[in-house]
Symmetry: C3
Subunit: 270 residues, 3 copies
Amino acid sequence: MSIEEKLEAALSAVKAKSPLVHHLTNYVTVNDCANIVLAIGASPVMADDIAEVEEMVSIASALVLNIGTLNARTIESMLAAGKRAKSLGIPVILDPVGVGATILRTKTAEQIIKEVQPTVIRGNMSEIKVLAGLDVTTKGVDSTASAENAEEIAKKLASDWNCVIAITGKTDIVSDGRQVYRIDNGHPILSDVTGTGCMSTSLIGSYCGANQDYLTATVAGLVSMGLAGELAQKSLTPQEGVGTFRMRLFDNIYNLAPESLAKGSKVSCE
Amino acid sequence: MSIEEKLEAALSAVKAKSPLVHHLTNYVTVNDCANIVLAIGASPVMADDIAEVEEMVSIASALVLNIGTLNARTIESMLAAGKRAKSLGIPVILDPVGVGATILRTKTAEQIIKEVQPTVIRGNMSEIKVLAGLDVTTKGVDSTASAENAEEIAKKLASDWNCVIAITGKTDIVSDGRQVYRIDNGHPILSDVTGTGCMSTSLIGSYCGANQDYLTATVAGLVSMGLAGELAQKSLTPQEGVGTFRMRLFDNIYNLAPESLAKGSKVSCE
Amino acid sequence: MSIEEKLEAALSAVKAKSPLVHHLTNYVTVNDCANIVLAIGASPVMADDIAEVEEMVSIASALVLNIGTLNARTIESMLAAGKRAKSLGIPVILDPVGVGATILRTKTAEQIIKEVQPTVIRGNMSEIKVLAGLDVTTKGVDSTASAENAEEIAKKLASDWNCVIAITGKTDIVSDGRQVYRIDNGHPILSDVTGTGCMSTSLIGSYCGANQDYLTATVAGLVSMGLAGELAQKSLTPQEGVGTFRMRLFDNIYNLAPESLAKGSKVSCE
């Protein structure tokens, strides 16, 4: 099967199964994450109390761990939910938001990677470089690192950690340690809206909840976001800006048909 | 007075009194709840620290308790705020989000019902069946239960607990234990946006804060949401989807006049 | 330089420097705050755990403290972040949301003012009067106080506390204890959307992060919000309401050019 055929099948599976995607995520973009999961055809649930996360994740089809506004209480819950998910064979998608900006974020991401062994890790170039132990200066939660060697880094980390690594930026790079995909969908205006990274991770979670091929699922999540961003941007008049763009992003994810996803994808494989 | 006349008067009262509606609610849809309360003409306030909730609720006209992302800290605050509200004669509206999905949610909802004795409880069919002790399998926060016997269940629970029970779904059922209303407003796209259930509860809170007839207030909240959903859906072009729909939902609540609410309502009484 | 020229330069500086604005803020409007900061050309970061706030603020250019949904945990974090910011010369902008509504809010705001000594404090008339020790009745988080003597109060508080005081309302008043600016931008519909006060504070934070003249920065933040509100309101058709208005608010902040800000400003100085 070509990657386009795989993408089409992956989205059809999401719409057919409507997988439950449990999130432990930040309070900044949580509403956007819930709405994007619904828009693609999956079902979101957010729960973070230590007394219920293991029970909640056991009825879910995927788990998203996003450390955007982590705290001592939710870190414990993330670890507990993550371990339970893995023990049940439920895929875990980690978004290491702002890792490298503070010791707490770096230590927490490292602990989750070590103890939970996520199925997919999605970050920007700065974040993934920090996880890879490479030298990088971080400015808050936005990437400042160059995209040089992105494919090599993704491939090596994926191989070392036996997971799928996704590095998002102008070109997105996805690898499972053997194959490497490059995705050229997207538009720079996506970085002018908060949460487009988090939403990409939640879309990956939605695809992973309905598809066992996590490499394709990750590519599908990123192509979906990139393509919806392109379509939303193209629709803007000069008077319109990020407010309208953001609304149309949800419209375009909602109206995205499996065949359109395949047709609009700009994916190449090395 | 006919139910249509009652609805018209209920919305006029909200706009005249602009009641303060104190919320202890989840961090997923809290912004939408605040905006929908403002849009209908009431005034929202969110506060959840145990050190201030009793003081805050004492200046409010209604209290909304929503367990969507409950945790040990906020459960204590919900109980304290709820008890204080009841002792002051302030109506308490409970939204038992996801009850049945975890033991924590079920126990917490049961504790609130027992200790606070809410004035109104609004849930989907799955959630209300769990509260009624009926057998039901739950998938996260979305309903999977059949609507069979909804009227009977609503009437019995309302009578047992001396409150108003609202079961929302394709047809909404509202009962105070004696009367039963059926509401046929709404559109399926409402369930493709997160928080439409929470927002319905917040609208009920807004109406209860300005009206002593809580049965009518509950019907008015659900008719408002359903009617705004119908109008928002009708306005969509094929290129538009949930993003635009959600924006227009707020537009339509904002522009909803008392006479339009009465005219657009689809309420029948048994 | 005229105030118009100063405003133009201030917005150019934001766009050139894209300052990182660290927020400890409420979970109701946090997404709007992040998006408005991005829309004006700055970069938001939200982090509230005591273990990381001092480290995070040390890489930021401004700190926003907003007590909208304060709790025991985040109060400690606010104090720690605030003190660190001040010790590093990073401007701190306080939004004392709902101060006066509860003892917790009043005590916390007073403690932050005493221990952190904020660079700018922005509130509505009720909130500022409470801070000034004047008699006022508060209704939740919305102002009910008269605007009488606003200029005198702002000037005195600013002088006493060696900071910039901004009182927002129909006419906004800004003073550093010597000069007093009156701003007549804005439209009443702004108060029908939650978070427009919080967003104004975040815009002030964005300007303060890129400009050393905090008086101008504060005026620039309020003019930006008011002007965007005017433009968004003017664009509405009769079918549209607060949903569309809110979206266009972000569009207009995003498209706001330095020269348009200067030209659209309605600022007078006493």
